[in-house]
Subunit: 217 residues, 2 copies
Amino acid sequence: MIPTITAFERSPDHGQGQARDMRVRWALEEVGQPYDVRLVSFKEMKQPAHRALHPFGQIPTYEEGDLALFESGSIVLHIAQHHAGLLPDEANARARAITWMFAALSTVEPPIVDLGVALLLERDQPWYTQRLPIVKDRIRVRLGELSDRLGEADWLDGAFSAGDLMMVTVLRRLNTSGLLNEYPSLSAYVARGEARPAFRRAFDAQLAVFTGASDGR
Amino acid sequence: MIPTITAFERSPDHGQGQARDMRVRWALEEVGQPYDVRLVSFKEMKQPAHRALHPFGQIPTYEEGDLALFESGSIVLHIAQHHAGLLPDEANARARAITWMFAALSTVEPPIVDLGVALLLERDQPWYTQRLPIVKDRIRVRLGELSDRLGEADWLDGAFSAGDLMMVTVLRRLNTSGLLNEYPSLSAYVARGEARPAFRRAFDAQLAVFTGASDGR
Protein backbone atom coordinates (compact mmCIF):
# COMPACT_ATOMS: atom_id res chain seq x y z
CA MET A 1 0.00 0.00 0.00
CA ILE A 2 1.38 3.41 -1.02
CA PRO A 3 1.22 5.89 1.85
CA THR A 4 0.17 9.50 1.28
CA ILE A 5 1.89 12.37 3.05
CA THR A 6 0.99 16.06 3.10
CA ALA A 7 3.35 18.94 2.33
CA PHE A 8 3.10 22.72 1.86
CA GLU A 9 1.58 23.84 -1.43
CA ARG A 10 3.96 26.82 -1.23
CA SER A 11 7.00 26.08 0.89
CA PRO A 12 7.87 29.06 3.12
CA ASP A 13 11.58 28.21 2.80
CA HIS A 14 11.48 28.36 -1.02
CA GLY A 15 12.41 24.70 -1.37
CA GLN A 16 15.41 24.57 0.96
CA GLY A 17 14.01 21.37 2.44
CA GLN A 18 13.48 22.75 5.94
CA ALA A 19 9.77 21.98 6.14
CA ARG A 20 9.06 18.88 8.17
CA ASP A 21 7.81 16.80 5.24
CA MET A 22 11.49 16.57 4.26
CA ARG A 23 12.13 14.23 7.21
CA VAL A 24 9.39 11.89 6.14
CA ARG A 25 10.36 11.99 2.46
CA TRP A 26 13.97 11.21 3.40
CA ALA A 27 12.94 8.28 5.61
CA LEU A 28 10.72 6.86 2.86
CA GLU A 29 13.56 7.20 0.34
CA GLU A 30 16.04 5.51 2.70
CA VAL A 31 13.81 2.43 2.98
CA GLY A 32 12.76 2.46 -0.68
CA GLN A 33 9.06 3.01 -0.03
CA PRO A 34 7.22 4.93 -2.80
CA TYR A 35 4.72 7.51 -1.59
CA ASP A 36 2.12 9.96 -2.77
CA VAL A 37 2.01 13.61 -1.75
CA ARG A 38 -1.04 15.78 -1.23
CA LEU A 39 -0.23 19.48 -1.21
CA VAL A 40 -2.15 21.72 1.18
CA SER A 41 -2.37 25.50 1.32
CA PHE A 42 -1.92 27.45 4.56
CA LYS A 43 -5.65 28.07 4.54
CA GLU A 44 -6.53 24.39 4.03
CA MET A 45 -4.17 23.38 6.86
CA LYS A 46 -6.35 25.20 9.37
CA GLN A 47 -9.67 23.80 8.07
CA PRO A 48 -11.57 20.99 9.85
CA ALA A 49 -10.79 18.41 7.13
CA HIS A 50 -7.04 18.76 7.67
CA ARG A 51 -7.34 19.23 11.43
CA ALA A 52 -9.08 15.84 11.57
CA LEU A 53 -5.72 14.45 10.42
CA HIS A 54 -3.52 16.93 12.29
CA PRO A 55 -5.05 18.57 15.39
CA PHE A 56 -2.46 21.36 15.29
CA GLY A 57 -3.11 22.23 11.64
CA GLN A 58 0.37 21.51 10.35
CA ILE A 59 2.20 19.26 7.89
CA PRO A 60 3.26 16.51 7.47
CA THR A 61 0.58 13.90 7.95
CA TYR A 62 0.82 10.25 6.94
CA GLU A 63 -2.05 8.09 5.71
CA GLU A 64 -1.73 4.41 5.01
CA GLY A 65 -4.97 2.48 4.72
CA ASP A 66 -6.85 2.95 7.99
CA LEU A 67 -3.87 4.52 9.74
CA ALA A 68 -3.49 8.31 10.00
CA LEU A 69 -0.51 9.81 11.82
CA PHE A 70 0.92 13.28 12.38
CA GLU A 71 4.20 14.56 13.93
CA SER A 72 7.29 14.00 11.80
CA GLY A 73 9.01 12.16 14.66
CA SER A 74 6.20 9.67 15.01
CA ILE A 75 5.91 9.15 11.25
CA VAL A 76 9.65 8.57 10.82
CA LEU A 77 9.62 6.13 13.75
CA HIS A 78 6.66 4.29 12.22
CA ILE A 79 8.47 3.98 8.88
CA ALA A 80 11.68 2.89 10.63
CA GLN A 81 9.85 0.22 12.62
CA HIS A 82 8.13 -1.26 9.56
CA HIS A 83 11.03 -1.29 7.09
CA ALA A 84 14.68 -2.29 7.32
CA GLY A 85 17.38 0.36 7.02
CA LEU A 86 16.73 3.05 9.63
CA LEU A 87 17.11 1.22 12.96
CA PRO A 88 19.60 -1.42 14.10
CA ASP A 89 18.23 -4.94 14.66
CA GLU A 90 19.91 -5.39 18.06
CA ALA A 91 17.49 -4.26 20.78
CA ASN A 92 19.79 -1.98 22.80
CA ALA A 93 21.25 -0.28 19.72
CA ARG A 94 17.71 0.20 18.45
CA ALA A 95 16.64 1.88 21.71
CA ARG A 96 19.69 4.15 21.55
CA ALA A 97 18.93 5.19 17.96
CA ILE A 98 15.38 6.09 19.01
CA THR A 99 16.86 8.07 21.90
CA TRP A 100 18.70 10.23 19.37
CA MET A 101 15.42 10.89 17.56
CA PHE A 102 13.97 12.25 20.80
CA ALA A 103 17.16 14.19 21.55
CA ALA A 104 16.96 15.87 18.15
CA LEU A 105 13.32 16.86 18.66
CA SER A 106 13.18 17.59 22.40
CA THR A 107 16.63 18.92 23.27
CA VAL A 108 18.32 20.28 20.13
CA GLU A 109 15.41 21.58 18.05
CA PRO A 110 13.53 23.81 20.56
CA PRO A 111 16.21 26.53 20.86
CA ILE A 112 16.65 26.38 17.06
CA VAL A 113 12.91 26.90 16.57
CA ASP A 114 13.13 29.75 19.09
CA LEU A 115 15.70 31.44 16.85
CA GLY A 116 13.45 30.93 13.84
CA VAL A 117 10.52 32.47 15.71
CA ALA A 118 12.66 35.46 16.72
CA LEU A 119 13.87 35.98 13.14
CA LEU A 120 10.41 35.59 11.66
CA LEU A 121 8.06 37.13 14.21
CA GLU A 122 10.08 39.40 16.52
CA ARG A 123 12.29 41.22 14.02
CA ASP A 124 10.34 44.44 14.46
CA GLN A 125 10.20 44.24 18.24
CA PRO A 126 12.33 46.69 20.23
CA TRP A 127 14.14 43.82 21.99
CA TYR A 128 15.10 41.93 18.84
CA THR A 129 18.75 43.03 18.63
CA GLN A 130 19.41 42.64 22.34
CA ARG A 131 17.75 39.26 22.71
CA LEU A 132 19.18 37.56 19.61
CA PRO A 133 22.64 36.85 21.09
CA ILE A 134 21.01 35.16 24.11
CA VAL A 135 18.93 32.92 21.86
CA LYS A 136 22.00 32.03 19.80
CA ASP A 137 24.05 31.24 22.90
CA ARG A 138 21.40 28.74 24.01
CA ILE A 139 21.82 26.97 20.68
CA ARG A 140 25.62 27.05 21.03
CA VAL A 141 25.40 25.17 24.33
CA ARG A 142 23.57 22.31 22.61
CA LEU A 143 25.81 22.34 19.55
CA GLY A 144 28.92 22.19 21.73
CA GLU A 145 27.57 19.22 23.65
CA LEU A 146 26.49 17.45 20.48
CA SER A 147 29.87 18.08 18.85
CA ASP A 148 31.64 16.68 21.92
CA ARG A 149 29.56 13.50 21.77
CA LEU A 150 29.93 13.02 18.02
CA GLY A 151 33.71 13.38 18.25
CA GLU A 152 35.39 11.90 15.18
CA ALA A 153 32.55 9.52 14.39
CA ASP A 154 30.53 9.65 11.19
CA TRP A 155 27.19 9.12 12.92
CA LEU A 156 25.88 9.48 16.47
CA ASP A 157 25.85 5.78 17.42
CA GLY A 158 27.29 3.29 14.96
CA ALA A 159 25.68 3.13 11.52
CA PHE A 160 23.43 5.84 10.10
CA SER A 161 19.98 5.62 11.73
CA ALA A 162 16.67 7.41 12.08
CA GLY A 163 18.35 9.29 14.95
CA ASP A 164 20.88 10.78 12.54
CA LEU A 165 18.14 11.50 10.01
CA MET A 166 16.23 13.57 12.57
CA MET A 167 19.35 15.28 13.94
CA VAL A 168 20.61 16.29 10.48
CA THR A 169 17.25 17.77 9.52
CA VAL A 170 17.12 19.68 12.82
CA LEU A 171 20.66 21.05 12.37
CA ARG A 172 19.92 22.02 8.75
CA ARG A 173 17.49 24.60 10.09
CA LEU A 174 20.59 26.57 11.13
CA ASN A 175 21.90 26.71 7.55
CA THR A 176 21.31 30.42 7.08
CA SER A 177 22.35 31.44 10.61
CA GLY A 178 26.07 30.75 10.29
CA LEU A 179 26.02 29.03 13.70
CA LEU A 180 26.81 25.60 12.30
CA ASN A 181 30.09 26.91 10.84
CA GLU A 182 31.37 27.39 14.38
CA TYR A 183 31.28 23.60 14.82
CA PRO A 184 33.18 22.05 11.87
CA SER A 185 32.47 18.47 12.92
CA LEU A 186 28.74 19.19 12.94
CA SER A 187 28.94 20.91 9.54
CA ALA A 188 30.67 17.82 8.20
CA TYR A 189 28.04 15.61 9.86
CA VAL A 190 25.23 17.50 8.16
CA ALA A 191 27.10 17.34 4.85
CA ARG A 192 27.43 13.55 5.22
CA GLY A 193 23.67 13.34 5.68
CA GLU A 194 22.99 15.59 2.71
CA ALA A 195 25.31 13.49 0.53
CA ARG A 196 23.20 10.36 0.95
CA PRO A 197 21.37 9.44 -2.27
CA ALA A 198 18.09 9.11 -0.38
CA PHE A 199 18.48 12.65 0.98
CA ARG A 200 19.12 13.97 -2.54
CA ARG A 201 16.04 12.26 -3.94
CA ALA A 202 13.88 13.61 -1.10
CA PHE A 203 15.36 17.08 -1.45
CA ASP A 204 14.78 17.16 -5.20
CA ALA A 205 11.18 16.00 -4.76
CA GLN A 206 10.31 18.78 -2.32
CA LEU A 207 12.17 21.36 -4.41
CA ALA A 208 10.20 20.31 -7.48
CA VAL A 209 7.00 21.34 -5.67
CA PHE A 210 8.39 24.85 -5.20
CA THR A 211 9.71 25.21 -8.74
CA GLY A 212 6.46 23.83 -10.13
CA ALA A 213 8.23 20.90 -11.79
CA SER A 214 6.04 18.37 -10.03
CA ASP A 215 2.79 17.92 -8.15
CA GLY A 216 4.83 16.81 -5.16
CA ARG A 217 5.45 13.14 -5.83
CA MET B 1 16.55 -6.63 36.47
CA ILE B 2 15.83 -3.42 38.40
CA PRO B 3 16.55 -0.33 36.28
CA THR B 4 18.25 2.72 37.76
CA ILE B 5 17.18 6.24 36.86
CA THR B 6 18.78 9.55 37.77
CA ALA B 7 17.01 12.52 39.35
CA PHE B 8 17.98 15.92 40.79
CA GLU B 9 19.60 15.80 44.21
CA ARG B 10 17.84 19.12 44.87
CA SER B 11 14.78 19.59 42.71
CA PRO B 12 14.58 23.18 41.40
CA ASP B 13 10.75 23.00 41.58
CA HIS B 14 10.79 22.12 45.30
CA GLY B 15 9.16 18.75 44.68
CA GLN B 16 6.24 19.83 42.47
CA GLY B 17 7.02 16.94 40.15
CA GLN B 18 7.90 19.06 37.14
CA ALA B 19 11.40 17.67 36.64
CA ARG B 20 11.54 15.13 33.84
CA ASP B 21 12.29 12.15 36.09
CA MET B 22 8.60 12.39 37.07
CA ARG B 23 7.59 11.09 33.62
CA VAL B 24 9.81 8.05 33.96
CA ARG B 25 8.77 7.37 37.56
CA TRP B 26 5.10 7.58 36.55
CA ALA B 27 5.60 5.19 33.61
CA LEU B 28 7.42 2.70 35.82
CA GLU B 29 4.64 2.90 38.42
CA GLU B 30 1.93 2.40 35.76
CA VAL B 31 3.54 -0.84 34.60
CA GLY B 32 4.48 -1.98 38.11
CA GLN B 33 8.23 -2.04 37.53
CA PRO B 34 10.34 -1.32 40.67
CA TYR B 35 13.32 0.96 40.13
CA ASP B 36 16.33 2.44 41.83
CA VAL B 37 17.17 6.14 41.81
CA ARG B 38 20.60 7.73 41.81
CA LEU B 39 20.53 11.39 42.79
CA VAL B 40 22.91 13.78 41.03
CA SER B 41 23.88 17.35 41.90
CA PHE B 42 23.89 20.13 39.31
CA LYS B 43 27.68 19.97 39.38
CA GLU B 44 27.80 16.21 38.87
CA MET B 45 25.37 16.46 35.94
CA LYS B 46 27.94 18.41 33.95
CA GLN B 47 30.86 16.09 34.75
CA PRO B 48 32.23 13.54 32.23
CA ALA B 49 30.88 10.55 34.18
CA HIS B 50 27.29 11.75 33.87
CA ARG B 51 27.77 13.12 30.36
CA ALA B 52 28.81 9.64 29.27
CA LEU B 53 25.23 8.66 30.10
CA HIS B 54 23.61 11.93 29.02
CA PRO B 55 25.50 14.00 26.42
CA PHE B 56 23.50 17.12 27.33
CA GLY B 57 24.22 16.86 31.06
CA GLN B 58 20.63 16.50 32.23
CA ILE B 59 18.35 14.10 34.03
CA PRO B 60 16.75 11.58 33.74
CA THR B 61 18.89 8.72 32.51
CA TYR B 62 17.91 5.06 32.52
CA GLU B 63 20.27 2.13 33.06
CA GLU B 64 19.20 -1.48 32.77
CA GLY B 65 22.01 -4.00 32.46
CA ASP B 66 24.03 -3.06 29.36
CA LEU B 67 21.48 -0.53 28.18
CA ALA B 68 21.84 3.19 28.94
CA LEU B 69 19.26 5.67 27.66
CA PHE B 70 18.56 9.37 28.08
CA GLU B 71 15.62 11.63 27.03
CA SER B 72 12.42 11.14 29.01
CA GLY B 73 10.46 10.49 25.80
CA SER B 74 12.74 7.69 24.72
CA ILE B 75 12.82 6.15 28.20
CA VAL B 76 9.03 6.21 28.56
CA LEU B 77 8.67 4.67 25.09
CA HIS B 78 11.16 1.96 26.00
CA ILE B 79 9.24 1.14 29.19
CA ALA B 80 5.93 1.19 27.29
CA GLN B 81 7.26 -1.17 24.62
CA HIS B 82 8.56 -3.69 27.14
CA HIS B 83 5.65 -3.81 29.57
CA ALA B 84 1.88 -3.99 29.21
CA GLY B 85 -0.26 -1.04 30.24
CA LEU B 86 0.98 2.06 28.45
CA LEU B 87 0.34 1.30 24.77
CA PRO B 88 -2.58 -0.42 23.02
CA ASP B 89 -1.91 -3.84 21.51
CA GLU B 90 -3.56 -3.05 18.17
CA ALA B 91 -0.90 -1.74 15.77
CA ASN B 92 -2.66 1.39 14.50
CA ALA B 93 -3.85 2.47 17.94
CA ARG B 94 -0.30 1.90 19.20
CA ALA B 95 1.16 4.14 16.49
CA ARG B 96 -1.38 6.85 17.32
CA ALA B 97 -0.54 6.72 21.04
CA ILE B 98 3.15 7.15 20.17
CA THR B 99 2.15 10.08 17.95
CA TRP B 100 0.70 11.82 21.01
CA MET B 101 4.00 11.31 22.84
CA PHE B 102 5.77 13.17 20.04
CA ALA B 103 3.03 15.82 19.91
CA ALA B 104 3.48 16.47 23.63
CA LEU B 105 7.25 16.84 23.30
CA SER B 106 7.62 18.49 19.89
CA THR B 107 4.52 20.64 19.50
CA VAL B 108 3.05 21.43 22.93
CA GLU B 109 6.10 21.53 25.19
CA PRO B 110 8.45 23.95 23.32
CA PRO B 111 6.36 27.11 23.83
CA ILE B 112 5.79 26.06 27.46
CA VAL B 113 9.54 25.69 27.97
CA ASP B 114 9.96 29.09 26.31
CA LEU B 115 7.69 30.59 28.98
CA GLY B 116 9.73 28.87 31.68
CA VAL B 117 12.94 30.25 30.21
CA ALA B 118 11.45 33.75 30.08
CA LEU B 119 10.27 33.54 33.70
CA LEU B 120 13.55 32.11 34.93
CA LEU B 121 16.22 33.79 32.83
CA GLU B 122 14.72 36.92 31.26
CA ARG B 123 12.85 38.41 34.20
CA ASP B 124 15.41 41.19 34.59
CA GLN B 125 15.60 41.96 30.89
CA PRO B 126 14.04 45.22 29.68
CA TRP B 127 11.77 43.32 27.27
CA TYR B 128 10.37 40.89 29.83
CA THR B 129 7.00 42.59 30.42
CA GLN B 130 6.37 43.33 26.76
CA ARG B 131 7.35 39.91 25.45
CA LEU B 132 5.55 37.76 28.03
CA PRO B 133 2.04 38.16 26.49
CA ILE B 134 3.41 37.04 23.10
CA VAL B 135 4.95 33.93 24.63
CA LYS B 136 1.72 33.15 26.45
CA ASP B 137 -0.36 33.61 23.31
CA ARG B 138 1.77 31.04 21.50
CA ILE B 139 0.94 28.57 24.26
CA ARG B 140 -2.77 29.47 24.05
CA VAL B 141 -2.82 28.53 20.35
CA ARG B 142 -1.63 25.01 21.21
CA LEU B 143 -3.91 24.67 24.24
CA GLY B 144 -6.92 25.70 22.18
CA GLU B 145 -6.13 23.15 19.50
CA LEU B 146 -5.51 20.43 22.06
CA SER B 147 -8.72 21.26 23.90
CA ASP B 148 -10.66 21.08 20.61
CA ARG B 149 -9.25 17.65 19.86
CA LEU B 150 -9.81 16.27 23.35
CA GLY B 151 -13.44 17.40 23.33
CA GLU B 152 -15.46 15.53 25.93
CA ALA B 153 -13.15 12.51 25.99
CA ASP B 154 -11.23 11.40 29.06
CA TRP B 155 -8.01 10.70 27.15
CA LEU B 156 -6.56 11.71 23.80
CA ASP B 157 -7.22 8.48 21.90
CA GLY B 158 -9.19 5.74 23.65
CA ALA B 159 -7.74 4.38 26.88
CA PHE B 160 -5.02 6.13 28.92
CA SER B 161 -1.65 5.68 27.18
CA ALA B 162 1.96 6.83 27.23
CA GLY B 163 0.75 9.68 25.00
CA ASP B 164 -1.51 10.94 27.80
CA LEU B 165 1.25 10.42 30.35
CA MET B 166 3.58 12.69 28.37
CA MET B 167 0.90 15.27 27.60
CA VAL B 168 -0.23 15.54 31.24
CA THR B 169 3.34 16.04 32.46
CA VAL B 170 3.92 18.69 29.78
CA LEU B 171 0.71 20.55 30.68
CA ARG B 172 1.52 20.36 34.40
CA ARG B 173 4.45 22.70 33.72
CA LEU B 174 1.81 25.42 33.33
CA ASN B 175 0.47 24.86 36.86
CA THR B 176 1.75 28.13 38.28
CA SER B 177 1.02 30.24 35.16
CA GLY B 178 -2.78 30.21 35.40
CA LEU B 179 -2.97 29.48 31.65
CA LEU B 180 -4.44 26.03 32.11
CA ASN B 181 -7.44 27.51 33.95
CA GLU B 182 -8.51 29.16 30.70
CA TYR B 183 -9.17 25.66 29.27
CA PRO B 184 -11.39 23.80 31.76
CA SER B 185 -11.37 20.56 29.77
CA LEU B 186 -7.56 20.53 29.86
CA SER B 187 -7.50 21.29 33.59
CA ALA B 188 -9.86 18.36 34.11
CA TYR B 189 -7.66 16.19 31.84
CA VAL B 190 -4.57 16.97 33.92
CA ALA B 191 -6.53 16.32 37.13
CA ARG B 192 -7.57 12.91 35.76
CA GLY B 193 -3.92 12.09 35.17
CA GLU B 194 -2.90 13.30 38.62
CA ALA B 195 -5.64 11.19 40.22
CA ARG B 196 -4.18 7.93 38.92
CA PRO B 197 -2.66 5.86 41.75
CA ALA B 198 0.56 5.40 39.74
CA PHE B 199 0.90 9.18 39.38
CA ARG B 200 0.45 9.64 43.13
CA ARG B 201 3.09 7.03 43.94
CA ALA B 202 5.55 8.63 41.51
CA PHE B 203 4.77 12.11 42.82
CA ASP B 204 5.24 11.08 46.43
CA ALA B 205 8.55 9.39 45.60
CA GLN B 206 10.01 12.50 43.96
CA LEU B 207 8.65 14.73 46.72
CA ALA B 208 10.29 12.53 49.34
CA VAL B 209 13.68 13.37 47.79
CA PHE B 210 13.02 17.05 48.29
CA THR B 211 11.69 16.73 51.84
CA GLY B 212 14.58 14.44 52.75
CA ALA B 213 12.24 11.57 53.61
CA SER B 214 13.91 9.22 51.16
CA ASP B 215 17.06 8.61 49.18
CA GLY B 216 14.93 8.76 46.04
CA ARG B 217 13.59 5.23 45.70
